[in-house]
Symmetry: C2
Subunit: 105 residues, 2 copies
DNA sequence: TTGACACATGCCTATATAGGTATATATACT
DNA sequence: AGTATATATACCTATATAGGCATGTGTCAA
């Protein structure tokens, strides 16, 4: 997922199932490379495949993305705190400004 | 953030400010390597630094993690749907089971 | 069965980067 | 000033992997 190409692929798959050829057009990369990225994504469980005749339909496996989400969510607290601090500072500056110039901005 | 080491570092920083030496002990990596990872994290804005005498105190910049959070959050819908499907299937199986064996598990 | 299509895999090369070691820089201590 | 401490950087080597090209495998159509 670190690779931009893989994010591109996942984003292309976000809408729903797509064939490899579809994805090739979507990301503007040669077919073998797309297949290789898809293989990696498959192996880490980020996508699932379904066979349909001579096509392979790929789709994202949101389940696999959940751990990432959870990990990042740990830091929500951190940035919430920092936003809180920022709000406090802004509030303080605003009050000072109002005292200094009588309320005009 | 793709590198396990960097996640380790961020996790070590999750609790609050830490000096480089602290982090060296935390992740069990040599100091130059830690400094290099921290440099990368600094450059992508994932962490901030503050100087304190001969120490550099690093802290996470939750702000920078927000885009990742938002990106992953796009897929929340996907896995929610899939969990929903799963729930439906389980429910169905449960009902069939109850009919088959009279309710015992 | 032969050919066209859809996809995967194998091999090659170039590049990125992780970790190692030595060293530079800056600050505190005496 | 001289030394110890804290951190950063430079350089090297090994490894991973991205992308390119050729080819293998399986499926559909005639």
């Amino acid at each position: 997922m670190a690779e931009p190409r893989r994010r591109q692929l996942l984003d292309a798959l976000a809408a729903g199932e797509r064939s490899v050829t579809d994805l090739v057009h979507a990301v503007g990369l040669a077919q073998p490379q797309v297949s290789k990225h898809l293989r990696v994504l498959r192996e880490v469980g980020a996508v699932d495949v379904r066979e349909d005749g001579r096509h392979r339909l790929y789709r994202v496996n949101g389940h696999a993305l959940k751990p990432i989400h959870d990990w990042v969510a740990q830091y929500e607290r951190v940035w919430s705190e920092r936003f809180g601090e920022l709000d406090a500072v802004i509030e303080e500056l605003k009050e000072q400004g109002e005292k200094a110039d009588g309320g005009k901005q």
